[in-house]
């Protein structure tokens, strides 16, 4: 099965789950799910599910398509992938209420049509669907999924409480990114890897890879928020630079602020009169002071670290994951 067909199956399964949503909440959530984005998390899960195969004397037989297929049956993987996408979907619905984003994935955010009170309930319904699916799948899933969701929620708190902090230290920034983005990537990789041959060390290694790659991905996303022409649009599909209006500064801006001994950038960002019209000036400052370059270097180094965790993984899984990450990096 090719990648696009697989993504379609993940989407179809998410859509099937969403069918049980109550009629008051369903339409905007379904509309968002129908604009699926890169489906990076479920794709990572699938790639990790191939781990351990191809090792030893008797590699699995090539499938009719000539590609390696994972050990777990596809139906099981589709359910796991849909579960991860469902958690992600729920967090997007709530995330957009929190930072009052109007747009998500090139369409209206869920709360825009239905109001934040109903959108809160819609996100809650998605979390509940994920919880039921995790319980149905059994084993350690309810614990793993609820831990990741707690990490995600804590990451959101760290994200919001830093508002207007122009001196946020790098370790604090990385903690927030790790919780907010890394944990769900880690969950996807662990769930995929755990369907393999049961080698716990490899499951852990892939989990660490996921966590680190999630961090790298988020830092990169911060860079994309600068609309860098060499990178393309940010994953969020949000208008560029709007987080600055909320007082939420990403890695490039934080680097630039740390460099800025004159205090001019902080003064600009904290000015009560700051509007969207000031964003280009911020962007110029952050670029010219090397903030964007420094953040890019950070993303790159975390990316390298993520790949370092794949050293113990078999070459084919490694290759499959490199494929996924390169696409995410817009290099593929």
């Amino acid at each position: 099965m090719d990648a696009e067909a697989r993504r379609q199956r993940f989407r179809a399964h998410v859509a099937a789950r969403l069918r049980t949503l109550t009629s008051e909440l369903a339409p905007p959530v379904r509309a968002l799910a129908a604009r699926p984005g890169k489906q990076l998390r479920s794709t990572l899960l699938y790639a990790c599910a191939t781990t351990g195969l191809g090792r030893g004397a008797a590699p699995d037989a090539p499938s009719p398509t000539g590609r390696r297929e994972p050990a777990a049956d596809l139906g099981q993987l589709v359910r796991l992938g849909a579960l991860v996408e469902l958690v992600h979907l729920a967090s997007l619905v709530h995330d957009d209420i929190i930072d009052r984003a109007e747009q998500r994935r090139a369409g209206p955010a869920v709360h825009v049509g239905m109001g934040s009170e109903r959108a809160g309930l819609a996100g809650l319904s998605c979390f509940a669907l994920a919880g039921k699916e995790a319980a149905d799948l059994g084993g350690g899933l309810p614990v793993l999924v609820s831990r990741a969701m707690a990490g995600l929620a804590y990451g959101e708190l760290l994200d919001i409480e830093r508002a207007f902090d122009t001196t946020l230290a790098l370790p604090d920034y990385l903690e927030l990114v790790t919780r907010k983005t890394g944990e769900l990537f880690q969950l996807a990789c662990v769930l995929g890897a755990a369907t393999g041959d049961g080698d716990q060390a490899r499951v852990d290694a892939l989990g660490r890879f996921g966590l680190e790659f999630g961090v790298a991905f988020q830092v990169l996303d911060d860079c994309l928020d600068f609309g860098a022409p060499d990178f393309g649009a940010p994953d969020s599909g949000k208008p560029v630079g709007t987080d600055h209006l909320l007082g939420l500064f990403g890695a490039p801006t934080l680097y630039a602020l740390a460099q800025d001994t004159s205090g001019a950038l902080a003064t600009l960002l904290l000015a009560p009169s700051f509007t969207a019209a000031d964003i280009p000036a911020v962007r110029d400052h952050v670029r010219s002071s090397g903030g964007l370059a420094a953040a890019n270097a950070l993303a790159r180094s975390r990316y390298e670290r993520a790949l370092g965790h794949l050293d113990s993984v078999d070459p084919q899984t490694r290759a499959a994951l490199l494929d996924v990450t390169a696409q995410a990096w817009n290099l593929g």
């Binding site: 809160g120 309930l121 929620a153 959101e156 007082g247």
Partner: protein, 705 residues
């Protein structure tokens, strides 16, 4: 002679905390030295919160106090509201004198000396009192703010004025911090009525030592320095007066009637800090509210907890220390337990409070109360549930609270304030853990303490669900984050995720039912919000209460018939709860969800018929109100009756008593002869209160007494 004098307990410091501890500890069989360094008690009007009053009542200390029934709460220029409280005001020096008198009366020996701890000697504390060695089995440290750097420090100043009559209200003004500076120290101004006229005006400003202390000019009274920087008390007071005058013209003609009293405050409570050398209580433990500077509540509560711990282990100071540490960990959550995030978290909370200040929606109202006021969120009602079979039940509830608080306090202490339960005595206010517990033992007489974790999950989940069921309305037209809406969503997600995790770990078989419960709540609430459908908010609360009862019965291994009966019981408890809310709201009293009739109508969570509420603004208002009241009371009584009837299936008499009292407490406001605000003693002969016999129903007066 045989060496130095030996006593059972030495209490150092004779302020309210120390004198209260000495009062509670002294007695014919226990020698207590109350060491006082001679600092005179200072005179100003102090605010006595509900927990403070409760502490004084338990110590049988009687003193002339002026009742306070409301706090005029002002957030900068953004909002102003009246928060109902049951509190009082009295002269601080008179309070200290009364407590010292009570200590002496109880048999404590008061010694005027400077105490110095020399060390531990074979299980005894060796102290020098003005150089004279004394040995004590137990040491209680109540020496006030230590002034140690690195904690959350600040300054408080207060002065008494004549020329104003505040009646039965205090004013609490929270200065608006400059929204764009995350490090600006917030400032709080208060005015407390003096018995017999006049008022004391005070101001508190807290910052983190070493980080805060930035002086920022601008709006409000935010110019006060905090942190480790010395502050000019007169300048701070002048700013406080200016702020009060801005709010209320009555503060224009104040005449000083007492000296300026000022001192450091320490809000840096963390549990680990408490039991290093003796038991630290009150300000010495950092139990001061950083938002309001209020410290009496923590002083009295911690004094009583220390006394209880020592009384339980008179010959074993280490056991007393462990007991105190455990009690304190569940009773108090520090405001700054996450040192690394403290400054940012503080300001986030500040913004949330200010944004949510104008909202009467339950989650915002509960959060405001939990953070600003020491009285906590009052569970689901004022009437208490006496705990039957205390040796079985109390350790379970203590374990439940410890789990609930410990899973969130590290990451989110401000939120943990919401979950902290300050009453762990022999009676409790109704809360979901009691419902779960009663169902758990419905068909058995033993308790598996593992299920305390499940009970904690249910407590956290109920709180989390409340965030989504009743969020504050969105704020519009501003640049930055909608702090109240954002914090509500974040809190809800965090609490529900932690609750799911606890369920998955403690009762994995319940994971699906738990998730299904959340889905059901979301669906029912969404349906209730739909203006095109008949609003059925009853169902939301029925579902909220049904799950704890059902899951308790299932985990307790009850047969299907009993599980069904308990689900039924929980369902009707939820209905009774909503109708009792309606009754309180129509009467204009404080509801259990801290909300108002207006907010309930706006938020569509009332069981009152729209055909009648639409006519509340018409001429026959009183008749409509009477109609609404009798309807809600009847509905509540009917729901209560059906809940009690379903208890016939329950075997264990302890469960019957607990659940019988639970529904009685929930339905208490619905009897005209039983005002919800009363302090009815429910600890009487509870077996006759709610026996399994459905013939006891029908709302006869006697049932509620």
């Amino acid at each position: 002679m045989s060496g130095p004098r030996r006593v059972d307990v030495i209490v150092t410091g004779a302020g309210p905390a120390g004198a209260a501890a000495a009062t509670a500890l002294a007695g014919p069989t226990r020698s207590v030295l109350l060491v006082d360094d001679g600092t005179p008690a200072r005179s100003y009007d102090a605010f006595l919160s509900a927990p403070t009053m409760e502490g004084l009542r338990r110590l049988a200390v009687d003193l002339p106090a002026q009742p306070v029934d409301g706090i005029d709460l002002v957030f900068g220029t953004r909002s102003r509201r009246l928060v109902p409280v049951r509190a009082a005001a009295c002269d601080h020096a008179a309070l200290a004198r009364a407590l010292r008198g009570a200590a002496g009366h109880a048999g404590a020996d008061r010694v005027r000396a400077t105490a110095r701890l020399l060390g531990r000697d074979e299980g005894w504390f060796a102290l020098a009192l003005d150089g004279v060695p004394v040995l004590a089995r137990h040491l209680v440290v109540a020496t006030g703010t230590s002034g140690r750097p690195g904690h959350w420090m600040g300054t408080a100043c207060v002065q008494r004025f004549a020329g104003i009559d505040l009646g039965t209200r205090t004013t609490l003004a929270v200065a608006q911090p400059d929204g764009t500076d995350p490090r600006q120290p917030p400032t709080c101004v208060w005015a407390v009525p003096a018995p017999g006229g006049g008022a004391s005006v005070g101001v508190a400003s807290v910052g983190v030592a070493g980080v805060g202390g930035a002086s920022v000019g601008g709006a409000g009274v935010g110019a006060a320095g905090a942190g480790d920087r010395p502050v000019d008390p007169d300048a701070l007071l002048a700013l406080a007066l200016a702020e009060l005058r801005r709010i209320d013209a009555r503060f224009t003609d104040l005449v000083p009637a007492g000296p300026v009293v000022s001192g450091p405050i320490d809000a840096g409570f963390v549990p680990e800090r408490l039991t290093v050398d003796g038991l630290l209580i009150g300000a010495a433990a950092g139990l001061t509210n950083p938002f309001t500077g209020e410290g009496l509540s923590g002083a009295l509560q911690s004094a009583l907890l220390a006394a209880e711990s020592i009384t339980a282990h008179p010959d074993d100071p280490d056991a007393a220390r462990r007991a105190y540490a455990q009690r304190v960990r569940t009773a108090f959550v520090g405001y700054f337990e996450t040192a690394r995030h403290a400054s940012r978290r503080y300001h986030l909370t500040w913004r949330v409070l200010a944004d949510a200040a104008s909202s009467d929606q339950p989650f915002a109202a509960k959060a405001r109360r939990a953070i600003l006021f020491p009285e906590g969120i009052a569970g689901l009602g004022e009437q208490r549930v006496a705990i039957p079979d205390a040796p079985l039940v109390q350790p379970f509830l203590l374990a439940c609270d410890e789990v609930a608080i410990s899973v969130i306090r590290r990451e989110w202490p401000f939120l943990a304030r919401l979950a902290s339960i300050e009453d762990t005595g022999d009676s409790q206010r109704p809360r979901p853990a009691l419902l779960f517990l009663g169902a758990l033992i419905a068909d058995r007489s033993t308790l598996d303490v593992r299920h305390a974790t499940t009970a904690a999950a249910i407590e956290l989940a109920t709180l989390g669900a409340l965030a989504f069921l009743h969020p504050p309305p969105p704020r519009t037209g501003v640049r930055d984050v909608d702090w109240a809406a954002a914090a509500t969503v974040l809190s809800g997600d965090f609490l529900l995720a932690q609750a799911s995790r606890l369920i998955a770990e403690s009762a994995p078989d319940a994971s699906w039912m738990f998730a299904d419960w959340l889905a059901e709540l979301a669906g029912l609430r969404a349906a209730a919000l739909d203006p095109d459908k008949p609003s059925q908010p009853e169902l939301v609360y029925a579902a909220l209460f049904e799950f704890p009862a059902r899951i308790g019965a299932i985990l307790g291994g009850a047969p299907a018939r009993v599980v069904h009966a308990l689900a039924e019981y929980g369902y009707h408890c939820g209905r009774a709860f909503l109708h009792a809310e309606d009754v309180l709201a129509v009467r204009g009293e404080r509801t259990r969800l801290d909300t108002t009739l207006e907010a309930m109508l706006a938020g569509r969570f009332t069981g009152l018929p729209e055909t009648l509420t639409d006519r509340l603004e018409t001429a026959d208002r009183e008749a409509v109100r009477a109609n609404l009241l009798s309807g809600a009371e009847a509905a509540c009584g009917e729901a209560r009756g059906r809940a009690v009837a379903s208890l016939t299936a329950v075997v264990n008499p302890t469960a019957v008593r607990l659940l019988g009292q639970f529904i009685d407490a929930i339905a208490a406001p619905c009897s005209r002869d039983h005002p919800a605000r009363g302090t009815a003693d429910v600890a009487g002969d509870s077996a006759t209160l709610a026996g399994p016999d459905p013939m006891h129903l029908g709302g006869q007066v006697g049932l509620y007494e």
